[in-house]
Amino acid sequence: MSAAADVARTAATFESDVWLSKDDAEVDAKSIMGILTLAAGMGSEVVVKADGPDEEEAVRAVVALFNAKFNEEA
């Protein structure tokens, strides 16, 4: 949960549009609801896409966050 919030928060700091996709579903990475409904548990494969002036930085930041360990239990 806080993991999804972290991703949405990070994505929202960029001007570019950022998307996450898994299987055939694609969601707005700035939306916690989108991320939650992707229902990606630990270990799932997710593709990060971005389009805009800071697209490279955005993808890098989101990927880095995914790779870092999410501390799920409060």
Partner: protein, 585 residues
Amino acid sequence: MSEREVVLSGIAASPGIALGRVMVVTRHDIDIPLRHLDAGEIEAEKKRLVEAMGRARDQLMETRDKVATDMGESYARIFDAHVMILEDKGSLAQVMEKIDGGYNAEFAFNAVFSKHERVLWEKGDTYIKDRAGDIRDVRRRVLSNLLGTRPARGDLSRIEEEVIVIAHDLSPADTAQMRRGKIMGFATDIGGRTSHTAIMARSLEIPAVVGLNDATTRVADGDFVILDGNRGRLIVAPSEETKKKYAEEHERYRTFALGLLRYKDLPATTIDGHTVTLSANIELHDEVDSVLEHGAQGIGLYRTEFIYIGREGLPTEEEQFLIYKDVASRLAPDPVIIRTMDLGGDKFMSAFESPKEINPYLGWRGIRFCLARKDIFKTQLRAILRATPFGDVKVMYPMISDLDEVLQANEVLEEAKRELKREGHEFDDGCKVGIMMETPAAVMIARELAPHVSFFSIGSNDLIQYALAADRGNEKVAYLYQPLHPGVLRLIDKTIRVGKESGIWVGLCGEMSSDVVCAFVLVGLGIDELSTSPYVVPEIKEKVRSIYFSEAEKVARHVLTLRTASEVEQAVLEKMEKDLPELLL
């Protein structure tokens, strides 16, 4: 409601005992009005929604700040996430679109948010379902603001009498409002160990049992119940005897710190010098602290299912290795028995389509699943083996019913060892292997199984259910589920005797080990190890330290000749009342 004592079993979410009157907090499904708007009403309706969402946001922020002060920032973050769900732009746009289409705010908001919930619920293993619960909490909050009703649970903080709250579900916000001392404990129909409500209850030290399915329909306001957060039980209409037993345990729990200090470092040795190993059952690796605090001598059952559920895809060998290594090294030199995954039954990982089985408890689970998916099984065995240099790690296979299963599983283990050797990994070649004795067939062929393993651990919950062909979750037949049934005791006795003859030790890791009367009989039958919830360890240890093994042995021999569970129980209680009254306190 019920005249006779009824024991409902759920998930032990937060430890502790509570005895008292029930307050049922029903959450009737909110009635969602449907109204068609005229074009002229649309803007006003949107404004009404925005205002309701604003109030919901203020309430959440208020709870957030209270939680941050009372419990710390990490718990407060749960509510930050709720606020983010509330403020989700995409969802709001969808709701507004529906209002533009002429639907009223309640209907529009509910339609969009419950759809999100459903998506999560349907994808769901227990962990993902708990996240659907987060969306539901937000949805209900906004709806009650729109409808002008108080959030159903708004007044938990105002409860003035001491009660045990029984609810279909509680949100973390509900839980945060509970005042310790007023709300003695709570039980819910739904929810899992990883729900935010469970996590908060543990932090607030309020005893809690979740996942009871239909507790709200079994009790009424004012009913007397016992909530056992140590064992995950809710006892409705308890008998005088049960009340007495729990009142004492409750008192003991209050003076817990003292009890712990007194017994923590002492062995579970009877007055006449017979020692039983008391170990703990865990399912999350962060429960290790509690194992150590309660003076358990190792982990008798590490359920590894939680490593597999709540995620998509399978955990890698490396991920598992790090977890097992951590648990093993923190427990060292005490042993850790890692049970290979027992999926199926009531747990299934999301990486697999849960097969729809008419009778999952007799279906594709435990070792049956592992042997069908040797790739997954071997990865787990490799991870376990690699953890062996860091402590005393043992492996245990679940759901054995056939010799061939043990031989095949051992073959996979050997293969894992050969691979690790080739790759230059360090591990203990002599890592001990045991099996769960939970099917009557396994007990009957115990002599044939024994040469291939180093220990037996009786999984009494399943053994009782399989031996008596009674599902204790089914209220029509739950009365048949009797741990002290002579049929069950004789199966246990046979397992222990075969263990002794074959020179291997025998433990028991089901709920029987945490019941004083059952534990007395088990010690008398010569069980080598009892593994219970960590919270029960001090109590059982104290009991073991106050009895004579010779007496327990005599009683156990005698009850094996009796005809019914009630005869057995009566015989044991009589003996205890006569010679060991302190045991029943």
